[in-house]
Every structure is written in structure tokens, then in C-alpha cells.
Amino acid sequence: MKKKYYKFKKYALFAMLLYTAFYGYSQTTESTLKGKLIDETTQAPLVGATVYIKGTKIAVQTDENGAFELKTVKEFPFTLSVNYVGYQNKEIEIYEEDQNIEFKVRSRLALNEVVVTAIGLESERKSITYSLTEIKGKDIIQAREPNITTALSGKIAGVQVQNSGGSPGGSSDVRIRGNTSVLASNAPLYVLDGVPIDNSIQDILPISNSLSLATPSNRAIDINQDDIETMTVLKGPAAAALYGIRASNGAIVITTKRGSSVTNKKLTINLNTSLSVEEPNRRFQPRQTKFSNGINGNYVAPGLAGSDENWGASLDTLTYSNTPSSFYKGGQIVGKSNPNSNGVPIESFDNLKNFFVNGITQNHNISVASKVDKAGYYLSAGKLYQTGIVPTTDFYRNTFRFNGDYDVTDKLKVQAGVNFINSGANNRALMGGFNTNVLRALYNSPPNFDITNGLSDPANNPDSYLLPPTASRPWGDSRSYANGIGWDSPYWSLNQNPQKDNVDRWIGFAQTDYKILPWLTATFRAGLDNYRDIRKGGFGRGTSGVAAGVVNDINYVRKDINTDFILQANKDLSPDFNLNVIVGHNYYDSYRYQSNVRGDGLVVNRLYSVNNASTVQAFDQTINRRLVAVYGNAQIGYRKYAFLNITGRNEWSSTLPVGSNSFFYPSIGGTFVFSEAFKLENNWFSSGKIRGTFAQVGKDASPYALETYYSNLSSGGWIQSSVQGPFNGQSTLNYGSNGTNTLGNLKLKPETVTTYEIGGEVKFFKNRLGIDAVYYEIHSKDQIIPVAIPASSGSSNIVSNTGEVSNKGIELAVTATPVQIKDFSWDVTGIYYANRSKVEALAPGLNNIALEGAFVNSSAVVGQPFGVLYGVDYKRNDAGKYLIDDNKFLADGTTPNSNYGYYIVDPSPKALADPNPLFNASLRNALTYKWITLSFLLDTRYGFAIHNAPKLQAIFNGVAKETEDRGTTGVLDGVRASDGATNDIEVVKSQAFYRGTFGVPGYAVERDLHWLKLRDISLTFALPSNWLSPLKISNASLTLSARNIILSTNYTGSDPDLGTRTGLSNGLGNDFWTTPNTKSYGAALNVTF
């Protein structure tokens, strides 16, 4: 019947067109467009909404049946838009045949929204019993971050992102509701189209760890944002009970675009291109500019002992001389009174300013989508190329994706997708604590030394860093202020020590859904994530600390296979009761293998091949893990306002001993939509629900933790040196696994993480104001930890079940549409979250486990927040003020006290400060006027501590700005130890005093920090369709954006929104020579045909 009607309409239209053609375009032709606006989920008509033709002033309101009738003279095709409070803006294109349309829109805030939840199933939002946040693909793109993990910053309550600085391709790490595990990973599971994928950060194995310290990527960086339809963050184990162990820290569920969801046309082509320019977003650590390199107040020429320090002479006492120097264009540096002096005062150089360059990020994407009948496909290609603010560094990513879906019959549906990614870097900057660290080398270069050597492109001109060959150094010497005994020139490191990596990755899935009965569906899904990561790190001859040159070849392969078999039944048991049951089986197998070769002693310099090495060592490692599970989920709904959700999962893990390797964990949750139950909806109160969940999840051990294995000798000295087997051609075996002297434990049992969560959502003013609040507690116990035992027992660690960590927190999200008029809308989203963690217990007799650190450790300390900064500090009073030694004499009463007037060292290490923030908050504003949208995100973190390790070293080496007052007399800030009175003892701020602070790393811990940043701001022009339709373009937009352009903080270092080099450990709050974060300005163009 209906079909016929359409047909009739079509003929009528055809007739009309003929009519139009006959009489020509000079005559205006009016057409009438009839349609109905309905809620996509509930199918209910929407009353009083504005429907308008995009780019025109033609608009009409829907009537009490949701119907509208629009008269227009506009040519087809055109774009029809809808604007309705509480609903997402939606546009559809109107062709000739679409004259009576059902215009479906999705609720923006309402509880009726459909969301993707665990194992790829869709649920009605109101039935969800736990915390879940969905982000649209376009919001991910808006962040203009190549790394989807970084793009989550400031967007979700309870989700804290730590990045590793502004290196292209640098890793980024997410914590959802804090850290639950002391030593195991606390990262959430990434799920792509229902298939878990790898997001590990792979560092290099011990064979080369001491040298290769480039910042690696986290593998979620391989996902192209433009392919993402939605990203759902499931917080905590409650949300992820159905994904099992790997989701015990939450899950990030990504759904990519399908042909049938992107378009309803035969062919839609989307082109998207963006370009942005990056620069450091904040100054570096402030450094002194008054003194030369040297020691004890004397300038020291390159290569001599002391030249690697910045305790030299005041610059204005130095001149050039007539003796030529390959380090100084003006000649060797001498004192003014030196007979060799030519009287020319030395120049001062701003090396920090001269070093950084503009980074450029280009991102190009093309996608083709189609929907024909029951089949749809989506095909895309993306190319990202990024150059860094550190010259010569870069990152690239080329992605291809094909997704197809086909409804074979009414009962059988198949879909599959395949994604190929090629990503990597041609050069990454070396980080870490060694002499090859590019940024340390830069920062330590004194003002009297010009790292650029006066060249315009020093990074690519060997004359800036390489000295002519000599008999003893035929490969050429390092042109740096310390000439090989301290840090090399940063340009040397970038050119002579290239760090490359290249990943080829395939991610694929295939899924079949079969409707066995109207209420029973069977689904089988299989997924594969397979990649190889080939890295090469070279160190040229003459590199400081690597005199003979080194090459590291790393071959890493990972293959994860995941299958799910799911039966889903959904039946109304009675008019009031609905039952939805899922039963599933999951199989997961992960295989990792790396084979690394290190060659020492390069025969031909800068030929970075193991063939070219004098000695070669090899290392390999296999890590295999398998999990099998059966799981179930039952949801009982009563009258669509009360829901009870019960899940259970039994897991079999390969990593636990037979007998303990099978474990079960449950969850139970309830939701009550009180607004529907009591019919409370009115003009100002729209909806409300409360929910609560209790959930548990078990965790298994690392592979091979049961037995004690022998391993090749690997023993470290106290400064970087080590001895490793084989030794002089003889094999070596050492008792204890992986060179860590760890004893296995055949009695391990699973860890347990338990969560309680209670929350509620209320909406007001026709959903224009929504508040979502959650309180949660997470307790993790029986953690599987390699517990340190005294070395005198013959081993360093034994893997044990021990320890308990708790996290408690609140999350608050407010969404509002303060203004919504015909041409203008203003949307606001604010989030606030605070987490309090506590290490409740470790092993008996063990109160402290160091997680990560240099000088000051981020540690798990019983009774303290997770990751507390722990180390040696000066003595302080209860108010945090330093105590000043006011004893003029030593205990004998006659010997003068050399420490009189200075701080007093407290030699026993203590918990110093909490690196966890008191809270995080952010505010997104989006203002739309006609076809222009302005959006910006303010993001803040408040009340945390950082150990500023660069500052500690900079003070020691005389580089820090604060050492500029060296030699002057002053009074240290503090109180007298004996009576607590304000200190008034004058002392000399000598080299010895400043160097002494190095032994007291707590001195560089900064407390009560905060930052506030404008994380992103963008202005989007969605071009009016009447401009575009003559060009056969359905959509076009231009976006101007900027990232991180405003930063306000009280931190004395660079950007405090910094993680660690790799994000590999669970440590927090250590600033340790990472690349500064960047700010960027860019433009993006998006065109859809």
C-alpha cells in the first residue's frame, strides 16, 4: 500500500519536473515537503521542533503529531536540518523522491539513548547499571591529536590521560579511576569492533635497554580517528565483567564506521585534510645565562675535566683570543687578563630558543561509503605525517580500512572488516638519563657555546656537531662544550644516533548474526590483531659513553586471536516483564615474540648493521598467554523503568597453576528510572534514574610466573655499567627468572578486584540540563606481585599473592544547553572527578615497593596514596618549612659547624608528596550560530606534586636559573631548628651548597601544583548547502583550530601535564627529561560528495 503511494508520488514529481523543464528555470516552482519527526529509539513523535532547510530561512515547527509541511522553491537536492532541544542536530539530504520523510533523530541527553556496551551489544541507556560515557567520532577528530588516547584528555569524568611529552608518535596512557594494581598494568582494554586489540607500549629488552631510550608509541596510536563512529568508555570492572580479566581496569570500546550507518546513498565520498603547526607550549626549565661552563668559578676548555659543568666564570670576564678553536668561531676563550686575549668579549647564545623548530602535522583521509539494498561498505585510506619540534624527528601512519556488512536474509547478517596500518618513525629523539639524551644535552649547553655553530640549518649540517677527523678519532669528534666527556651536541645525538621503527599491522574481524527464533540470536565473532615492529637504534662511533658505536636490531611480533560465541535471548515474559539473557564463550590467545640482536663496535662508522659490528649478541623471548571463558548476563526489565542486571564469568587462564586456574566472578546491578515509575515528568523535570552496581573481577598472573627459571647472567653496577653473559665465549646461567633473580611460585591464585558504584542521572527543562553523578569504591587484593625479599636469601623477589589497594572517588558530569533559539545554540559540558587512592597493605614485613624513579621514587607505600613520591629530603617542620641548622659549633662545642645556616639533611627516606591530583575538571563550550560553530575545552588539574628531576640535576651542574646568585650571601628560607624562629642566618650560596642539594632529591619535589589549559579551540564553518549543491557537494566544512595555546601553572619546570618517557610503569609524578609538550595551530577541510 505504502509503496504504491510512494510510487504515485514519484510519478507526480516526475510530472512536476517535466513541467519545470518545459517552462524553464526563470519561473519559480514551489514544492511541498511533508514529513514527520520521530525519536529514533522510542519512535515517539516529537512536538514543537524546528525543521529548516539548511542555508535558508525556510523553517517550520512540527505539530502535535510530529508532522511538518514545508513549502519551498529551492532546487533539489538540499539539506534539511532539525533543531530540537535535547536531541542531536541531524541533517538529511532531500532528493526528489524523498517527499514524505520519516525524520528520525537521536536523543542527545535522554535516557532512551542507545549505547554500545560490552561485547559489542547495543543497550538502551536507561537500562545500564554502571558508568559509561560515549564520545562521537567527530569529537575525537576535533581534538586534532594523532593519538586517540591523548584525544581523550579532559573529555570524560574519571579518565586521566598521561602523555609522554611532545615527541611525534610519543606514547600516551590512560588511567580510569586510578591505579588498582601495584605492579601489573593499570591500562584499560581497547576493543575495536568487538575485538580486543593491543595497546601495549613495547620497550626494548635488557640487551639494549641501557642505550636505546627513544620514546616508544602506545599501539592504539595506530587507530585512525577518522574511521571511528563512536568510542565508549566503560569504567571499572562492573562495566567490563563481560570482557573478563583484561578489562579489569575498564574498557575503551571503539566502533568503526559501517557503510550502512554512514550513508543511505549508493555512493558517498568524504575527503578530509588538515594541517597544523606545532611549537613548544611552554618555556623549558629556566636556565642561568650569566656563567660559562667550567668549575670552581673558572672557565674550562672543552674536553678537560670540569668542562661538563656550568660552574664557570662570569661571561663578562671572558674574551676570545687569537688562538683559533674549532669550538668557538671567535677563537679560544680566555680570561680578560690572559696575555692571549684579543679583547673581544664573548658572545652569549640562547641555545634553547635556537634549537626547537616548528613541527608540522598533516593528516589526509579519503573514505568511500555505500549502501545498496541490504549491503553496505565503507572504505578508507588515511595518511598522517608529523614532524617534531625536535629537528629530524617524525612519525608517520598510513591506514587502510574496509568494512562490509550484508543482510543475507532477514535472519542472517554478516559483517567483516579489515584494517592495515603502517606506522613508525624515521627518527626519534633519545631520552633517559644517559649522555645521549638530546634535551639534556641541549639544556646543559652553556650560554658561551653556540650549538648551531652559526649555521642556519644546524640539525642537518654536520659542521654544527662534527669536528674534522684526527688520527686518534678518524670518524670525527663531537663538537660540544664538553667534547665527549659530558653530553654530546644535541645535533650529534639526532644525526649519529638514529632511532627508527616501523610497524606493519593487520586488524580484522568477521561476525555472523543469525536469528534462530524471533527472540533468540546467535552471534559468532572472530578477531585478529597481528603486527610486527621492527626497530633499529644506532649509536655512532665517538658518541659519549658509546665510544665504539652500537647497533640494536629489534624484531617484535605480536599476534592476538579472539573469538566470541554468543547466544542472546530477548523475550517479554509478560506485559510487564522483559528478560534479556546472554550466554557466551570466549577464547583468547596472545603470542609475543622478540628477537633482538645487538652489535658493538662499528667497523665502518654510521653503517648501522649488525654485519658491520665487531661483536654481536642475541636475545630472544616468547610470551604466550591463553584465556578461555564462559560468561552470562541476565537482565530483567520491569515496565521499562526497573532493571536488574546479573553477570557471571568463569575464566580459565594459562598463567595460573592447575587447580587455581579456573575462577568465577560475578556482578549485580540495578537501575530504577523513578521519573517513569512515578510519572514525574513535567515542564521542568524531564527524567531521573538511580543505579547501583557491585562487581568483581579476577586477574591472572604474568606468563611463566610459576617456575623458577635460569637465565643468562645480567648484572648491573651502580652507574650504568653491567656484565652480561655469555662471558668471553662461555655460557652463563644464573638462578632466577629474566635476570631479575625472581623465584616462581606454584601456589599462586587469582587477584581479585571488587567494585561498588552508586550513581544517578537527572534531567531538567526538557533535557536541557542534565546531571550525572557517581560515587565508587574499588578494592583490589591478593595482588600478584614479585615481592622483594632480602638479597641475602639468594634471590631478589618471589612472586606472591599479597597487597591491597583501594580507590574511592566521585565523578560529576553536567550537560546543559543554556541557549537554544532558531539560529543559535550554546551547549556546555562540564566534568569534575576526584579519586583518592591508598595502598592498604603490601606483603608482610614489606611496606614499600618502588615503581619508578630517578633519585626520588614514585612508590607504593603502605598507608600512603598510590605512587607517592618517596625519598630523602631536608628536614622540615610540620608546616613544611625547612629547618635551618643554627648550631654554630659541633657537639664538642669548639669545632665550628660548617653547616651553620644551611638546611639539615634527613637521611632516612620518607613519603614526601602525593603526585595524584586533588581533582581534575574540564569545561567544554560549543556555540553554534547558523553554520558557524565555536567550540573550546578548558581543562584543569589541581593539587598534585611533581619531582622535578631536571631541576635537581640543573642545580647540581650549575645550569639552573636559581644558581645564578652563586657566590652571593643570603638567608635561606626556613626556620631555625632550635626555636622555630624565622631564619636570619646569612650564608654564602656557594657552588658546594648548590651541589649538596643533589644528594637531597626531595629538594626538587614541587607541591600543591595546578595547571589550567585551553586544551583545544576550534571554529568550524559548515558551508551552506545552497553554495554547495551546484557543485554536487552535500557537505563541506572548514575548521580552524588551536591546541594547548593557553597554559597557566605554578610549576617551575616546563608543562606539568607530563608523564614519563614511556608510560611503562605505574609510577607517577616524575618529570625526567621528556620532550616539552606542544601547542598547535591548524586548519582542516572536510568535503562530502
Binding site: R626, S654, I719, G725, S737, S792
Partner: protein, 498 residues
């Protein structure tokens, strides 16, 4: 319809069962790249290489205290004035226990099971040596309950006296094991896997006697004559010298050319250039000056013939050598080619040391002529050992200069005990460069008369003097509640008396 449903359910369940049973979870968890058993040969190489490396690294700390070395930069700087962070001892303490003693313990057990007495004997000598190094620096240490891993996680600390008794017993037992004729046992004897002596049992026995003499003399503060007699008894069987009898048989490990097999001093200077150099006291002696002279003082003839082997010039190619004053960072010579080449040895004990032990013991026993003979032999052996390669071309190393040096610096008065002891110990201080044994000698005899570091006073070292012992490593303090709590650097050890 109903049958169909049942069929589907049956099919599903059977599929699940098949998937479950086919997974062989236990097999997945077997590490394909590591073994759970190890042959004695690989354990022995591992224990030896680690022990030599660890004591080499460790001596950078101890011998900074007695001013062989000087720390100038980074983590090495605080060592210079005894403000050492207790975590720096973790590496050495931990690796001696876990990477050498634990393996030696397994070798001893497997050696008995396999009837391989030479492995047992060698393991016992190295065990005795390792405990000796630990106790001479830390005092009381875990021994009787140590190395029991899973059973005893927090071993008690044994007194230094009982550790000394164990060391002697272990050395005696080792000599018995190594004296068994090779034809009588089943196990394959050690050969190239013994990277010290290549399985030569006679050399090991000589080394055991040398160590017995060393530990006997360490107790000289209790009763010098008894200690000296015991030392002589260890060195001699009647009139036959049975300790290490020539430089070629020294108990030492030569490191390798590959970076991860190279000498710890070489690695120190390569990876952290200029962090550690030489101390004023040592370089002054090489320069022919007194330990208390200014480091810039011009050299005084006779200059030590070994100077170019032990030290590098500072400034480069200047012909001059200087050390840094403890506690004040400054320009210094670096460790010279004999010890700081990648293939340089770390010396456990030596012919040179045996002769110095004899010289001191003879002096104590009043045998002046024998003392002088032993001293001359010791210094001459030291010359012969270290003056090689480019250092042999040094103008101070000619035979005539060596003779002059011996006459001026290594000649005893024959009637002034204190002066002669000072001469012997000072010469030993030079000859045993890098060896922590000189830290023991300093504490026993007070020679050479070192000037404590500038700014050496700290909470852990309140009197500012040269420490008498090392703090227990932070890791042991944290993980073993039996660790004695004390003011770590000033209390004297058992044999150090008052």
C-alpha cells in the same frame, strides 16, 4: 520446532565443550626460552664473572673512601665526602648474594651429587672470598641462614667472628676437595668454563692458602704475633712457599672486549666520563710526594715507575698527573690503562699481595731480613705485573729508575717498627691500587695517613673521619627486619678493635 531448538542447544553445548578441552592451558605456560635446570659449568662462569665485576664496581666506592679514587660528578660526587646514599650498595651486595653466592651454593650441592670435587672446591674458595669481601666492609652479615630462598626469606645476621670461622673452614675444605686425584671422580672437571684458572686445581689451592693468610692477618689488632704466625703458616708449608707464587697465577679475572663483558673501571670511564677519577693521596704518592701535599705540587724524584700504568695525565699530554682533594671536585687524572682497558683484570688476590702479607708478618715477628726480602719481592712483582705496553716506555719505568725507587721507597730501616710498617703498608696501598684490601689495611694500621674529606661530616658520619665500615644497603634494610640498626659509618668492625 521444539526438536530444532533442542538440536541447536545441544550443538552449541558440544561446541563449547570441544573448545574448552582443546586448549591445553598448562602447556602454554612453559617458557620456551629458559630452563629450570643448569649445568655447573654455566653456573661457574656466571658466578665468577659476576663476582669479579661486582667487587670491581664496589671498589669504586670503598677506594674513594681511602682516596685511590675521587668522585666528581653525578652520583659519584657525594661518595667523595662519605655522603653516600645507601641505595648505591644495593647493586653490589645484591649481586654478590644473588648472582654469585646463590650459584656457588648450587654448584656445591650439584658437585657433591655428581662426584665433581673440583667444582665443589672452587665454589668453596669463591664462597669464602665473597663472604670475606662482604664482612670486611659491612661487618655482621647473613651467612648461616642465607641463600635458602623460599624457606628462609629473612635470614638472621651472623657475627663477623663466626663468618671468619666459616671462611677458614670453607678454605680448608676446598683444599681437601681440590687435592683429590682427578682420576678418582666421575664428574667432568672444570676447564674453560673456569674463566679464572681453567680448572687448574694447583692454582686454586695456592689461591686458597693466600686467602687464608690474608684473613689471618686481618686479626692483627687482637694479637699481632698470633695473626702473623698464622699468616706465615698459611703461606708456607715448612720452607715451601705454597701460596700464589708468581704473577701469572694471580687469582684474577680478565674481562673481555665486548661491551657487556668489559672491565668495570673501563665501563665506568666510558659510560660516565669524568665522574670518577683519582684521589690526591694516591696520585701524590705516584708523583713521589706525600699524601698531604697539594695536588698541584710538582713531582719529586723518584717518581713511581708504575705511574703511567695506573693513571692518565692531567691535563692531557701535559706529562703531569694530579688527584682531586677528597670533598672538592676538581681536575684529576683518570684510571690508567692497566685497570681501565676493556680487557683489564679485576684482581681478587695475587702473588704481590701474598708477598706484602709475608713482609708485614715477618716484620711483626721481628724477622727483618725476611721482611725486606718479601717487600722487595712484592714491589718488584708489582712492577713486573703492571708496567706493560705503553707504560713500559715511560721514562720513570727504566730498570735503573725501578732500582732507585726500591732503594728510596721500599727499604726498611730494620729498627723502627712503626716506620717500617708504614713503608710496607704504603707500598701495598700503591701496589694494590683498586683493591678494597687496602681499606682493610688502613683500618688495621692507619696507613697511609690520609686527610679526611672536606665536608665529610654528615648524619651517617658525625665525626667527619674516614668511615670504618659501610652502611647496609637500603634494599636489605627495607626487606630484612634482622638488619642491625646502627650509626652505619663509624662503628668499628670486630677485627678493627678500638
Amino acid at each position: 520446532m521444539k526438536t530444532k531448538k533442542i538440536n541447536i542447544i545441544a550443538l552449541t553445548l558440544s561446541t563449547l565443550l570441544i573448545m574448552l578441552t582443546g586448549c591445553e592451558l598448562e602447556k602454554v605456560n612453559i617458557n620456551p626460552d629458559a630452563a629450570v635446570t643448569a649445568p655447573n659449568s654455566s653456573l661457574l662462569t656466571s658466578a665468577q664473572a659476576n663476582l669479579a665485576f661486582s667487587i670491581g664496581v664496589h671498589s669504586i666506592l670503598t677506594n674513594t673512601y681511602i682516596q685511590h679514587f675521587s668522585g666528581a660528578n653525578g652520583d659519584a660526587a657525594p661518595n667523595d665526602s662519605y655522603k653516600i646514599n645507601a641505595t648505591y650498595f644495593n647493586a653490589v651486595w645484591n649481586s654478590v648474594y644473588t648472582n654469585s653466592l646463590a650459584e656457588l651454593d648450587i654448584i656445591k650441592k650439584q658437585g657433591v651429587d655428581q662426584n665433581s670435587p673440583y667444582y665443589v672446591g672452587i665454589a668453596k674458595i669463591l664462597t669464602a672470598y665473597a663472604y670475606g669481601e662482604l664482612t670486611d666492609q659491612f661487618g655482621d652479615i647473613p651467612r648461616s641462614e642465607a641463600l635458602k630462598g623460599a624457606e628462609i626469606k629473612t635470614p638472621k645476621f651472623d657475627t663477623q667472628e663466626s663468618v671468619y670461622a666459616f671462611i677458614n673452614q670453607e678454605l680448608d675444605d676446598a683444599i681437601v676437595e681440590l687435592s683429590k686425584p682427578a682420576s678418582t671422580f666421575k664428574g667432568v672437571p672444570p676447564s674453560s668454563d673456569d674463566v679464572i684458572y681453567r680448572g687448574n686445581a694447583a692454582n686454586w689451592i695456592a689461591a686458597a692458602y693466600t686467602l687464608k693468610a690474608r684473613y689471618a692477618l686481618h686479626t692483627s689488632k687482637f694479637n699481632a704475633a698470633t695473626a702473623a704466625s698464622k699468616a706465615i703458616d698459611a703461606l708456607y708449608s715448612g720452607s715451601t712457599f705454597r701460596a700464589i707464587a708468581n704473577n701469572a697465577n694471580d687469582l684474577q679475572l680478565n674481562f673481555g672486549a665486548s661491551v657487556t663483558n668489559s672491565n668495570p673501571y673501563f665501563q665506568q670511564q666510558t659510560f660516565r666520563p669524568n665522574w670518577v677519577g683519582l684521589g690526591r693521596s694516591f696520585v701524590n704518592l705516584l708523583n713521589g710526594n706525600s699524601v698531604t701535599d697539594a695536588p698541584t705540587k710538582a713531582e719529586t724524584a723518584p717518581v713511581d715507575p708504575r705511574r703511567a700504568a695506573f693513571a692518565t695525565q692531567n691535563p692531557t699530554a701535559s706529562g703531569r698527573y694530579r688527584g682531586a682533594i677528597a670533598g672538592i671536585p676538581g681536575a684529576f687524572s683518570l684510571i690508567g690503562p692497566f685497570y681501565a682497558t676493556n680487557t683489564s683484570p679485576v684482581i681478587f688476590t695475587s702473588f704481590v699481595e701474598a708477598k706484602f702479607i709475608e713482609a708485614e708478618a715477618r716484620l711483626i715477628l721481628g724477622e727483618q731480613a725476611a721482611a725486606q726480602a718479601a717487600l722487595t719481592a712484592a714491589v718488584t712483582a708489582s712492577f713486573n705485573k703492571v708496567i706493560t705496553g705503553a707504560a713500559a716506555a715511560d721514562t720513570n719505568a727504566t730498570p735503573a729508575k725501578r732500582t732507585k725507587y726500591l732503594a728510596t721507597k721500599a727499604t726498611l730501616t730494620g729498627n723502627n717498627f712503626d716506620k717500617d710498617l708504614e713503608t710496607i703498608i704504603t707500598q701495598k696501598y700503591i701496589a694494590l691500587f683498586t683493591n678494597a684490601e687496602v681499606f682493610v689495611d688502613y683500618r688495621r694500621t692507619g696507613h697511609p695517613a690520609l686527610v679526611p674529606a672536606v665536608g665529610g661530616t654528615s648524619a651517617l658520619n658525625p665525626n667527619g673521619l674516614i668511615p670504618r665500615r659501610l652502611p647496609y644497603p637500603a634494599s636489605e634494610q627495607i626487606n630484612n627486619p634482622n638488619t642491625p640498626i646502627a650509626n652505619y659509618q663509624t662503628p668499628r668492625l670486630w677485627w678493627d678493635g678500638n
